[in-house]
């Protein structure tokens, strides 16, 4: 699997969109390209979160433990990223991820990502922009939800 494919996939994710492809290529070079077979687990719920994954090819299932059984609650498709929050803050995995089909991913290690952030300020800025946008969207959603609750209470 060449680095180019990984960079292409990264560019499609919101967090990396807009970052100089050269930097993405370096990040991809410092990361691992891994292949999983259908049914294999990438990580389990509650595991230490130390890496983010970009799906290059194939699809993955988001699995939640319900009554001792893993239930698929969502599917992650090609050119999507998951686990990125774990790279920025030290939180355990909130769900398990399994390969739904044969799955090619780029595994971005926290240390590599942080090194890149500290080396290139423009990358940090872009990531901040992404986080701010997400925060804004979340705040908006929260406001809307709050308004709805108030409506329901009042009504």
């Amino acid at each position: 699997m060449s680095l180019n494919k990984a960079v292409e996939a990264m560019q499609q994710t919101p967090i990396f969109a807009g970052i100089d492809p050269k930097r993405l290529r370096l990040l991809a070079f410092m990361s691992e390209s891994l292949t999983y077979r259908a049914g294999e687990l990438l990580f389990d719920q509650g595991d230490e979160g130390d890496s983010a994954f970009v799906v290059i090819d194939g699809s993955a299932s988001v699995l939640i433990n319900i009554g001792g059984e893993k239930k698929e609650v969502a599917v992650i498709g090609s050119k999507q990223i998951f686990g990125e929050m774990a790279v920025l803050c030290d939180i355990p995995r909130t769900a398990a991820i399994g390969a739904k089909s044969d799955l090619d991913v780029l595994r971005i290690d926290r240390d590599a990502f942080l090194k890149l952030l500290s080396e290139f300020t423009e990358v940090s800025l872009q990531v901040m922009r992404f986080l701010a946008a997400r925060l804004e969207a979340t705040t908006k959603d929260l406001g809307a939800a709050q308004a709805e609750i108030n409506d329901l209470k009042g009504g």
Binding site: M1, S2, K22, R25, L26, S33, L34, D104
Partner: protein, 868 residues
Amino acid sequence: MDKNLVRFVWTYGRMDTIKTLIVTFMTFPVIYISLEIPKIIVNKALGAGNTPTEFPINFLYMDMSNFEYLLALCFIFIVMIVLNNGLKFVLNVQIGLTSERMLRRLRYHLYENVLRFRIKRFQHMKQGEIVQSVMGEVEPLGGFFGEVISTPVWQGGMLAVYMTFIFLQDPYLGAAAIALYPIQGYIIPKLQKKVVKLNKMRVTNVRKIADNLGESVGAIEEIHSNDTARWHLAQVADRLYENFSIRLQIFKRKYLIKGLNNFMIALTPFAFYLFGGIQVLQGNLEIGSLVAVLAAYKDVAGPWKALLNYFQRWTDLNSRFELVVENFTVDGLVYDRERVYDENPTPLKGEVEIKNVSFGPGSSGLNGASSKAPLGAFTGVLGGEEGGRELILKMMVGLVEPEGGRVTIGGTQVTEATMPAVGQGVAYVSGDNAFFAGTLRENLTYSLRKSASMLSDTDTAEAVEKLSEANITGNFAAEPLGDWTDYAAAGVTDGAELDARIVELATKVGLAAELYSLGLQSRIDPSDHPEIAEKIAGARNTLRDAAAQNRELADLVEFWDDGAFNQNASLLENVLYAMPKKARTSIADYAEDADVVAVLAESGAEQPLIRAGLAIARQLVELLGAVDEDSSLLDSFSDYSKKDILASAEVVEKYRMKSDHKPSDEEKRLLLSFALAFIPVRDRLDAVDDEVEAQLLAARTKAIQLTQNSDKFVSFGEDVYSPALSLSENLLHGKRRYDRRSAWKKFDDFLEDEIERSGLREGITAVGLGAQLGAGGAGLSASSKKRSALIRALLKRPEMVVIDGVAAGVSPEDDAIREAIVAEMAGKSVVMSLTTEGAARKCDHIIMVSDDGTAKDGATASMLEPAE
């Protein structure tokens, strides 16, 4: 040890000093003759004397003309000069030899004393101070030892010779020459005294600097995390200033003394010219004699200066010697020599009795604690979390000396027993036992390193000299690199049995898994472990077949096929289809291996490899071009060193300027090293296109022919163990797939099963013993270190083992280790610190340490609440 420098030299360097003195005395007549001859030449041969000489003159039983007479005298003169300088050379060498021997002895003495210090001495004497004393402070003494006795004799003797000569010429001139000596003899010692005092201050100050330095290195993490660098800098700066001001004062006084001396020495010729001149004018003194006296006096200045200089150095160095020696021989704080060299020790054995011991302040100390640990029992020590428990355990093995009270084992006070008696009788394990750079085996058998491997003088001239020098200087005449293992102490007869015993213990205390994985990662020389190597090479095909048949496993490995490119192997392996016999640390290093380079060139792989290397270099430069030169980012690529990445930028630039650039040898090495270590699936750079791949495969065919019949390579096609690959790589006729790394565990489990089945496990575990640990045992995890410390303790089969903070909890794992220790020590005493009562149920005896610093003990049933 003698605190007086002269006595020290006379006691230990007597023979050397006497030899020096003999040579010294031999020089005196030579010097006298070489003074006498010029006078005879001037006065007699040249006729400048008052009474003219009659020729022919009878000299050396021959009649000589004045011309012959002059020649003969000059000849004697030149012989004397040669003789004089020859003797001086011998003398200086002898002085140097004596000095070095004495210095070696002194340092050895000091170090021996350090090892003989009572443990409590180390509370006051820190590492920095000891190092400074043994190495730096005594260094200037080195040049002086040989001179202590010989210089005053030599220079004083010369002075006497010159003075005798002058007195014989004219008593008045003689008197004039020494007229000022009494004044010098009075003033200079007075000034010198102050210098000595300053010197002592300086030494003490330097010791404190050494201490500060040592302390800040030890506390470097605290300094970084608290931002206190400036405070430490200020502290050292202040000490350095003190050093400066002391030295300045010393300098001023030293040069004052020197100036005074020079002045007085210069005054004397004034007297010669005045009184000598009058004598000559009056006809009482021949002019030749006055010239000779003046010449002699010029020579007198030398020894006299040397004597004064000697006196200065003597007072300085003698005080320094005293200062150092005093520090290492404090009364009551240094054990007798017997303590180290006890030939017939009685190992400590028996009931441990702690009587009314006290140590330290507050709840972390002990205050009148008394307890017992019965012989042959498993004693658990509970409570005293603040430090009391640790103190009691350390006191049991003599590592802490109680301030009050006493600790005995079988009636012998532990701190008074000899080192061999303690070492053979008891073992101590804690979380922080020391580990040394070396193999794991060396670290585990550290407790058996007691059968001294003595020097012998049978092999070489060097061995003879080494032994004789050791004897002359009173050093321990042993060879540290020899086999020091006391096999009998471990109950085995040789190294193989010892290895088996270690593996047995490792299994019991839970270190076997670590050993096994260290073993799998190790590279071995097949001639060291012929059986394992053969078995592994033999198992390779079976393993491949087994793995190939299992779809899941086959998916994890890319097997070797001599006609296909292996995307998960380095280009080196891909081209050679073999590995060199001589192992190197990393694949990139093979770019420096002459045999490898030759095969690459001959097989036609060099050009495509350099092309690939250049492609890698270009991409690295592109990827990392914007990165700062000292960024930590450049250290993150284990296969590409920072130095090489930076160097590659220059090469890439040269190719950019001139596409047919002819690379220099160093550039070739760099590009080759990039290419050889390149693994396509892992590194994912665009370095090997279809054309290069085809060229490399073509080169492989030729390389196989070249390496097949070479004894420098092991081909992948042979069923032979390859020393350049690790044990686990040798088990596999292929490469693990890097993109399937997440599933490698499955393959590890498969390998483990197969290894178990083929009976290789024990052998591989033993190989793990040869793994290098690095400084301070860095290659081991904290828990492995604890287990290793347990093995070290149990290996020497002590009468009692005291364990603090290892396997102290209630987990089933800790419980199993405790059971193994008790079984291993059957009939002997085991004392362990335990964290909870639950962990103490299986003890025979309990010691309970209270926070008020007291302790009580009794049988387990009487000490613990019954379990619910």
